[in-house]
């Protein structure tokens, strides 16, 4: 990754009146293609992500779910096609999104310091930072381990710290890439509770999973991917009751997709 791509923080950008009070959504993807190593990993994908609902990107391993999330968040650039947000101020856009990775990347410092670091980078002043750190850790049920070194926490606790860090940033959109893939049911339940609470707070949730049960519990709408293509984009109730395509029918029935 070139250093230039790691954007240096610039002077605070004053919100343009046209954008004031308006969220970054909808996010519109048009004919997005992503290639790597001569392979087409995402192909001709058009999708509109609207505000309000919990969107779950579902599909078997290798369907391109993580790539789709990374493309939306701007971690990678599409080979072709366009990805547009309602707001076009890059600085503001970055502040209004947060991303929770499958394997949490925590710094070698305390849980609280991890959250505080993200806020410091975002330019949140000291007193406000301390308040938000405490609130986020409390909401994630981590107040009792705030001062423990983050790297010695359990996998589930580490993922909750990552979630608290995202929450403290007060994003409008939260991307989660298989946030519970390596966790046991109890840890999964704790994570899902935090996600639900954030959603109730008005944060747009976009998460990937290959776990049907999780999709049923969490989704308002389903984006079903297979082999880098968008197969179905539907209301969750409708998707699980009457999948419209043979691939989705097979996946919902629990068959292994080739």
């Amino acid at each position: 990754m070139p250093v230039a791509a790691l954007k240096l923080r610039e002077a605070p950008v004053i919100d343009r009146p046209a954008n004031a009070g308006q969220g970054p959504l909808p996010l519109v993807l048009e004919s997005v293609r992503f290639e790597a190593g001569g392979q087409r990993l995402i192909d001709d994908l058009s999708l509109t992500v609207a505000a309000g609902t919990r969107t779950v990107v579902l599909g078997p391993n290798g369907a391109g779910k993580s790539l789709l999330l990374r493309l939306c968040h701007g971690l990678i650039r599409p080979t072709a096609g366009s990805i547009r947000w309602a707001c076009d101020d890059p600085d503001r856009l970055r502040r209004e999104q947060a991303f929770v990775f499958q394997r949490p990347v925590l710094l070698r410092r305390s849980a609280a310091a991890n959250v505080a670091y993200a806020l410091a980078v975002a330019g949140v002043p000291g007193a406000e930072r301390r308040r938000r750190v405490r609130a986020a850790l409390e909401q994630a049920g981590l107040a009792h381990i705030a001062d423990r070194p983050a790297r010695v926490l359990s996998g589930g606790e580490q993922q909750r710290v990552a979630l608290a860090r995202a929450w403290a940033l007060e994003p409008k959109v939260l991307f989660l890439d298989e946030p519970t893939a390596n966790l046991d049911p109890a840890a999964t339940r704790a994570i899902e509770a935090v996600i639900s609470a954030m959603c109730a707070d008005g944060v747009k949730i976009v998460m990937t999973t290959h776990d049907l049960g999780q999709a049923r519990r969490q989704a308002d709408e389903i984006v079903f991917l297979h082999k880098g293509r968008l197969i179905e984009h539907a209301d969750a109730g409708r998707f699980f009751a009457r999948p419209a395509t043979p691939e989705a029918r097979a996946f919902v029935a629990g068959d292994l997709l080739a």
Binding site: R70, F101, R151
Partner: protein, 234 residues
């Protein structure tokens, strides 16, 4: 065999009697090498970390050159610093030749590439793990460098140890720019070289044991601190 025994006895006598001349030499050696390593850490770590994050044409060549500089011959560095600092040299006005400061400069030049190259490798590995998360948080390169250095602190202890070992052990550079002047620029390695050439092997070997002991003690201390910290911090 009796020579080795004599040497051990001499060393023991020197250490237990807290010989003033020995103490002076040991303290000066430590002062020079620790200063040189501190200077090399200040320069080499940010440099190595910057090289780990930067992508530009010719970067590969620079990395190879930096790694090669870990093997800089001390006498060549000594000669170079000598030429720079000698009366006729570009920095002759400063009058630094044959002073401890000149020795610190020479050792810092030797140690900086070692610290920078090992830091580059450590930070690059760490960055592979952290890159997307830092990018997502909007962390700029200038902020990423101290963050990665701090998070790599346990691994970077090894880089410091490698630098310290090099500084404590080398004789070629300090003997050229220091001149091995009694009570002024005489350090352990130059004393050993001098005593050996005078045929006074017992004192030379005795000093050698003291030097080894010091290096082992410093390594052990740092490793203990490192493993204790790693256990509590994860």
């Amino acid at each position: 065999m009796s020579q080795l025994g004599d040497a051990l006895l001499t060393a023991l006598q020197l250490v237990t009697s807290l010989d003033r001349e020995l103490a002076e030499i040991v303290v000066l050696s430590l002062r020079i090498s620790l200063s040189a390593v501190a200077l090399a850490v200040l320069i080499g770590m940010p440099l190595g970390a910057a090289l780990a994050l930067a992508r530009f044409p010719g970067r590969g060549v620079l990395v190879v050159l930096l790694n090669a500089c870990m093997g800089l011959p001390p006498v060549v560095v000594g000669l170079f610093v000598y030429l720079m600092l000698s009366r006729a040299g570009p920095l002759g006005e400063l009058g630094l030749l044959f002073t401890p400061t000149a020795m610190v400069i020479a050792q810092a030049i030797l140690v900086t590439p070692i610290i920078a190259a090992l830091t580059r490798q450590t930070v690059e590995d760490l960055y592979a793990e952290y890159r997307e998360q830092l990018q997502s948080l909007g962390v700029g390169a200038l902020r990423a460098i101290p963050t990665l250095l701090w998070d790599g602190r346990f691994s970077l202890v090894t880089a410091v140890l490698a630098g310290l070992g090099r500084a404590m052990a080398e004789v070629g550079a300090v003997i050229i720019v220091g001149g091995n002047i009694n009570h002024v620029t005489r350090v352990m390695t130059t004393t050993i070289a001098l005593e050996t050439s005078k045929g006074y092997l017992a004192l030379a070997l005795g000093l050698g044991f003291v030097l080894l002991l010091l290096v082992v003690a410093m390594n052990a201390t740092l490793m203990l601190v490192q493993s204790a910290a790693r256990q509590t911090e994860g």
